[in-house]
Amino acid sequence: MATWRPDPTFYPSPRLAIKAPPERLAYVVRLNAHPNGQPEALCVVDVDPSSSTYSKIVGVSDVPYTGGELHHHGWNACSSMLCPNAPHPHIERRYLVVPDIRSSHITIFDVKENPTKPKVVKVIDPEEVFERAFYSRPHTVHCGPDGIYISALGTPDGEGPGGIFILDHETFEVLGRWEIDRGDQYLHYDFWWHLGYDTMITSEWGTPRMIEHGVLGEELLAGKYGHRIHLWDLHRRRRTAVLDVGAEHQMLLELRPAHDPTKAYGFVNSVVSLKDLSSAIWVWYRQNGEWKIRKIIEIPAEPAEEEQLPDILKPFKAVPPLVTDIDLSVDDRFLYVSCWGTGELRQYDVSNPFEPKLTGVLQIGGIVRRAGHPAVSGPLNGGPQMVEVSRDGRRVYFTNSLYRAWDEQFYPDGIRSWMVKVDVDPEGGMRFDPNFFVDFGEYRAHQIRLEGGDASSDSYCFP
C-alpha cells in the first residue's frame, strides 16, 4: 500500500542514515544442521538494552517447507527508493526476502504487522526461479531502485553461469534474468553497486557443484574457484570490465562498496591464498575512468600442531584465517573483517582506503584458539562469520556458522552456534558487550539484518 510520506527508514544519504535511531530488533536466519525434519526459520532477537528480554530470541517463524538451508536475506525496499532516476519513495520497508541457498525457495516475511512474529506472506517455488530466470541457489538480496535484485550461484543443474535475477518489489514475482551481456562471467557470488556511477560489481565463489559437498580440495589446489570481480553497466546490464587478482587467491567473496555515491571504490575479501593460506582484502577503485584493484591487507595463517587441526588442514600444519565476511560502516570509515578460521574479528580504519590501519582485534572461537566470551564459561567453536554493523556504527553483531557442508570440514566436532555483539569506540577500538550472548544451540545462525536497515542493506543516491 502506498504511504503519504516516504518510509521513515529511508535516508537520502549515508550522512543522514548515521543519525538513525538504534535498532531494537535483529532478524537472524537460522538453519537446521540435523536432518530431523525441522524447517529452517527466521528468528527475531531483542537487541534493545533497556528491554527485559535483551539478548534473547523473542520470535521464531518457520519457513513452510523442509530440507533447505537459509543463508542471506534482505529487505523489499530501502533508501535507494529515493533515487531520482527511478523514484518509489512511498513503498514500505516491511518485508524480508529470504532465499534458500539449497532448495531455491524464496520466502517473503511481513515484519510490520507484528515485528516479533514475522508472518509468511508468500513462498516463491524453486520452479518459478528455474523457469523464469534459469538460475538456482538464490543467495544475496539487495533492494535496488527499480526492484529486488537476488544473486544465484548457478543453474538448476548445479553448474554455471551464476548470476542475478530481479523480483518485482510489490508483487514478488520473478521478473527474469538480469544480465544481457555477461561476457565470459561464469562463477558468481556477491554483488552490489555504485549507484552514483551506474556500476554493478559482482564477485566469484564456485558453482553449486563445487560447494554443496564441501570445498573440493583438488579443484581448490588447481585454482578453479573464483578470483575475479566483474564490473557492469547497471543500466544497460552489460559487463564492462573484469579485474583478476590471480588464481593464487581463491574465492573472492563479499563486496562492500563505499556508501557515499560520489566515491568509486570498495572492498572485497579473498578467502585463501594457495601460496601460504593467507587471506587478503582488496580495494577496487576508479582512476581516470578505468577500474583497478589492489591488495591492501594480508592476514597470515597461524602455525598449529597437526593433531589440533581437522583433516582438511592437517597437511598444512597451519590455521588459515579464512576471511569469509567483511562489512563497511555506513560512514565508510571502519572495515570489519571476520577471520572464521583463526577466530578473530578485526577492525581497520579505512578512511584512506589505500592505507588501512588496524584499530581493534577481538578473539572468539577459532579452529585452534577456541576463545571464550565474557558472558559464558568455557571454550567456543565456530568463528566470527556473518558480521553486521548498525547504521550509527556504534554496534557490531556477528554469528559463527559459514555454510553447512563447509562447517563440517573445518569444525568437524559440530558448531555450536551463537550470536554476539560488540560495542565500538567512535574513534576506533571494540569490546564485547558482556550482557549479549545468544545461544542458538544445535541450530546455526547466519546472516543478521537490523530493524530499519544496517550497513549492508541500504544504498544511497545522495552524498
Partner: protein, 224 residues
C-alpha cells in the same frame, strides 16, 4: 483575452504543480549537482528536463488544437473530459511503474526520461482541457468579429497551443529551478524525508477533478 485570464493562470498554476513534484525533475538535477559537487551541474540538468516536459505537453496540445479546429468546443471538451476520467481510472486500477533511466544521465537521456515521466503521469492531458477552453473562446471571438466561421483555423489553433505550452513550461521551469537551487544551496536533501508527500495520489485527484469539470463543461455546452 481577459475573460480567459483564469485559463492562462491555471496553465501557470499547473506549471508550478508539475515543477514542485520531486519525481518530475528538480530532484534529479539536485542529485547530479551533489554527485559532481557543483551548482552548474544542477543548472545544466534543468533545460533538458524542461524540454522533455514541454515535448510531452506539446504532443497533447497539438492534437487538441487540431481537433479543436475541426470540432465544436463543447464536443472537444466532452471528449477531453472522458479521456481524462478514463486515464484517471487507469492510474487507479492499474499498477503504476515510473519510467527509469541511468543516474548519470546524458542531456538526451534526461530529456527522454522527462518526456516519458510527464506523459506517463498525464501531465499533457491535464493541460488539454484548458487549451480546449481557450480554443473555444478564441473561435467564438473570431466568429463574432469577422463573421467568418473558420479563419485560418489550423494556424490559429496551433499558434495558441504553442503559446499554452510555452506559458506552462516557463512556469514549470522557473519553479523547478528555484526549488532545485534552494535545496542544493540551502536546505539539503534531508527535507525529502518529510516533504516528499505522495504527489502521485494528489496527481490522480487533480486529474480526476479536472476530468469531471471538463466533462461537465462540455456537456453543458452540448445541452445548451
Amino acid at each position: 483575452m481577459s475573460s480567459n485570464l483564469w485559463a492562462w493562470l491555471s496553465l501557470v498554476a499547473l506549471g508550478v504543480f508539475h515543477g514542485l513534484n520531486p519525481a518530475m525533475g528538480w530532484l534529479f538535477a539536485v542529485a547530479l549537482g551533489l554527485q559532481e559537487q557543483r551548482l552548474t551541474a544542477v543548472l545544466a540538468a534543468l533545460p533538458p528536463i524542461a524540454l522533455g516536459h514541454a515535448a510531452a505537453i506539446a504532443l497533447v496540445a497539438v492534437v487538441t488544437a487540431l481537433l479543436g479546429a475541426l470540432l465544436p468546443g463543447a464536443i472537444l471538451l466532452t471528449f477531453a473530459g472522458f479521456l481524462l476520467l478514463a486515464f484517471t481510472g487507469w492510474r487507479i486500477w492499474k499498477r503504476f511503474r515510473h519510467p527509469r533511466t541511468r543516474f548519470r544521465a546524458t542531456r538526451r537521456e534526461l530529456a527522454i526520461w522527462s518526456f516519458l515521466m510527464a506523459s506517463a503521469h498525464g501531465a499533457g492531458l491535464m493541460v488539454a482541457p484548458l487549451l480546449a477552453v481557450l480554443l473555444r473562446s478564441t473561435n467564438e471571438v473570431v466568429a463574432t468579429t469577422n463573421h467568418v466561421e473558420h479563419l485560418q483555423p489550423f494556424a490559429q489553433s496551433v499558434w495558441l497551443a504553442f503559446a499554452a505550452v510555452l506559458v506552462h513550461t516557463a512556469s514549470m521551469f522557473v519553479t523547478m529551478a528555484v526549488v532545485a537551487v534552494i535545496v542544493f544551496r540551502e536546505l539539503g536533501v534531508e527535507l525529502l524525508r518529510r516533504a516528499w508527500v505522495n504527489v502521485d495520489l494528489l496527481w490522480v485527484a487533480v486529474l480526476g477533478l479536472t476530468g469531471a469539470l471538463t466533462l461537465a463543461l462540455g456537456l453543458r455546452g452540448l445541452l445548451s
